[in-house]
Symmetry: C2
Subunit: 348 residues, 2 copies
């Protein structure tokens, strides 16, 4: 007897391969700009969402996290690991996958790779923050840390914020060379730099994305001039920061979800009541963003579940009538829902 799964039992799955095809089908800059719009639309609805800091399981070598949220119509969660030592073993520091579900039935409606999707939504979120916080007319960014996230950050700021020049620095010149290779031909002026000081010269936006699981001071206070906007992306777990606390102290700090950022972000270096502004309130107009040309604004980005929710909902909408997914027989669906046992018995 051949067992056929019913329609209800089938859950669309977007593999790594199909995610890459979908990205090329849509166009990577369009994809990122779309994501930034989707995330912004959900940040406007911020108060509707179930929100919680992510649930982490920590070991000596890394962390595995679950990041759920819901707007009452859809539920989404992401599984994501963070293992800085992986890179040295030929593995990804961060891998991820996620699920979108229908709140009304509890049934999953999408299962997707999210290693690529997380890179895209992280860049889209930085771009969204930069759009709202950087000084008007910014055209040059410094990209400090030229690892797996760097090209996405550069392209996102090009697509969403009008950045046309990127100044690259990494402690490892091979990482910078890789970043140059990948960005060549994509419409950006690329300048390679051999020191962080050189990289931030003339940049109105500084994005820092490094992956060490330590307190680092990639930027020190005297390096950061008036009026810049900083995206600090790499410090995203307890004990991992990138900026000297003096920079944080003299910046206006903008965050996603304070209960999570106070544990994971740059502000873990500061007092528990260090003043922060929630980014969603800047977007809705409930709070002020940049207030002067000389202000240093800091987006202390750690990544929040709503961004993954937005990304999964976007992918779910985009794959309809495309070949970029396969159906998985994931949900047992007996003819009589009380007859799970009978379904198994008859399959024998």
């Amino acid at each position: 007897m051949t067992l056929k799964a019913s329609k209800l039992a089938m859950v669309p799955f977007v593999s790594v391969d199909n995610m890459m095809r979908l990205v090329h089908h849509i166009g990577i800059e369009t994809f990122i700009a779309d994501l930034a719009r989707e995330i912004e639309a959900d940040f406007v609805r911020w108060e509707l969402f179930d929100k919680t800091p992510r649930f982490g399981s920590h070991s000596d070598v890394g962390v595995i996290e679950l990041m759920p949220t819901s707007d009452g119509t859809y539920y989404a969660f992401k599984y994501v690991n963070g293992h800085p030592k992986n890179m040295g073993e030929g593995l990804q520091t961060v891998t991820a996958f996620g699920v979108l579900s229908d709140v009304y039935s509890g049934y999953p409606v999408l299962f997707s790779e999210m290693t690529i999707l997380t890179a895209l939504r992280t860049a889209a979120t930085s771009a969204m923050a930069t759009k709202h916080l950087a000084a008007p007319g910014a055209t040059t960014m410094a990209m400090i840390g030229n690892g797996a996230q760097s090209e996405f950050q550069c392209l996102a700021l090009k697509a969403v914020c009008g950045i046309d020049t990127v100044r690259l620095y990494d402690i490892d010149p091979a990482a910078t060379a890789k970043c140059v290779r990948n960005l060549t031909g994509l419409g950006l002026d690329i300048i390679t730099c051999t020191t962080p000081e050189d990289a931030i010269e003339g940049a109105q936006v500084i994005t820092v994305a490094t992956a060490d699981k330590d307190m680092q001071t990639i930027l020190t206070d005297n390096m950061v001039g008036a009026g810049v906007h900083i995206n600090a992306i790499g410090g995203d777990c307890p004990g991992k920061t990138e900026l000297h606390r003096d920079i944080v102290a003299r910046s206006s700090v903008f965050v996603e979800y304070p209960p999570q950022t106070r544990i994971e972000g740059e502000i873990q270096q500061m007092a528990p009541d260090h003043p922060v502004t929630e980014l969603w309130q800047v977007i809705t107009g409930a709070a002020k963003g940049r207030q002067s040309a000389s202000e240093v604004t800091l987006f202390d980005g750690v990544g929040f579940a709503i961004e993954d929710f937005s990304a999964l909902r976007y992918v779910h909408a985009q794959i309809t009538d495309t070949p970029y997914y396969v159906d998985l027989d994931l949900v047992a669906d007996p003819d009589d829902p009380r007859d799970l046992f009978g379904m198994i018995k008859r399959a024998g």
Copy 2:
């Protein structure tokens, strides 16, 4: 260009169809008895595990939960919904899937349906509890509630505890008829009953598994005689119970993980410090189980993450060298782990 996923990127997936084939390949009673042994072995290691109550997202019509745990070598989580109204719409009340991961790399090593697997592990857990708590020589059980979980409970107690006679009752005679049909020919004496009072007549073990999301009193105090063991399985979320509190009050109560059971189990009707014994301590000998022939023992089972962990690890071990899984291209795996962007670019 055809994109081939590398070995590392592939994650074995056990579909509903393949889970049924695996169950038949192993034999359902053997499968349940194996699971009971695996769960027992992990309950002995209880103190090693990361433990937390499950993370629920509640709506008016149901709940979606994530249940993670780790022993430091493997990490597992289950996604499970509970939607009592689903049955009336032709859907499963409970559907589930889960993931087993390698703590050292953070990479997933198994993705599996768990609707069927949860039914099996829930029955295995009841059998494990019954083995340790019921009066010696029990041969007859009452099965109150003849829904999706009922046949699994009956077979588990046959396989693990030597039960040879089941007395079935459900408020809906069609459910009982379905249960009879499914259990016929599997080596049990089956007696159908038209009242709960009739069902528990002469039973040394009473298993209650009903699915209403309300405070119910499926059993009232005067129905329960001395010396019986009760498995209360169906009350597994806030606001959902099955037993009159007087039964709970005069029983010795055994639970999986108190912080979760106090929210979800029968003991949510009792004071927050109502005395309970942790089942793992009975198994290790650190706490006493049944202490007299007249004692009423109550396993207030709500299902705990360690049971899913055990089940996923068991399935992971069993599928090796079988055709009961397919590989999914779930983890992005660029040649150079820092070159995620380049992998996407080259796929274009």
